[in-house]
């Protein structure tokens, strides 16, 4: 399990993948590695205090994972290693991963954490204090 912490702040969960066609734009995508990048499947949900992004990235090595939050964008990248031998029977092929999300300004800029476990990347994005739901008690008179 790999753990890392980013320092920038996410702001929104709008997915930018469609407007950024993923491809071998990553300089690490060389011919001897997986040649293309695909968007990982993701779940995004919110709790009272955080947004959680889960991304399926099977085959990614712990040191091949990048989670970068910069300005209004959160980018996740994963690098996989090709198997030494082509399988005799093949239903899947590992590929590098790339997906970007737009962040809004209602999130805590310093608290993003990311963790990779069993091929699933979990990114937790805290809401900024002013957007956390605050219940106001109503006094009956």
């Amino acid at each position: 399990m790999a753990t890392m912490t980013t320092t920038a702040t996410p702001k929104d969960q709008r997915d930018k993948t469609a407007s950024r066609a993923p491809g071998p734009r990553d300089p690490r995508d060389t011919a001897d590695r997986a040649p293309r990048a695909i968007p990982p499947r993701v779940d995004i949900y919110e709790t009272e205090k955080i947004y959680v992004l889960l991304a399926d990235m099977p085959g990614v090595l712990p040191d091949g994972l990048d989670v970068v939050a910069e300005r209004d964008e959160l980018v996740i990248r994963g690098r996989v290693e090709r198997p030494a031998r082509t399988p005799d029977y093949q239903e899947f092929e590992l590929a590098n991963y790339y997906r970007a999300f737009t962040l809004t300004d209602d999130l805590d800029t310093d608290g993003i954490t990311a963790r990779l476990s069993d091929g699933v990347l979990r990114v937790e994005i805290p809401k900024s204090a002013r957007t956390v739901l605050k219940k106001i008690p109503v006094r009956m008179e």
Partner: protein, 144 residues
Amino acid sequence: MDTRSLWDPWQEMRRLQGQMEQLFTDSVPTWRWPLTGQYPPLNITRSDTGITLEALCPGVDRGSLDVQVVGDTVTLRGEHKPEPDAPEEHYYRRERPIGSFTRTLGLGEAVNADQTQATYTGGILRVQLARSPEATPKKIPVKS
């Protein structure tokens, strides 16, 4: 090395389907992946001593993973459990698979169930199956 492949009339259809899905997923986010049909996707590599089976199934609950070998048949079971703290209405996006899966595969040759080993690393389930002695290829010297 044994290069025989498993004959499966649907393999080409699935490959075509996979390529079509890839064509779309390269430009737009994928839709939710239902756990029906052929899940998890498998790769099989054969060697003289055994068969390696790899299943792509990230995020499976480790306690639910089950690998069974009977004769020449392997059965994989597992479950993608929902997040405990996330009711359905709190989701903005749901693309990852959820629920239980079972996949049974006929290998076409007997394997030694006692020597089967399975690991689950990086979301890939690897099952190392040892060939039974009678199924191990024997090299026949060719006399001139």
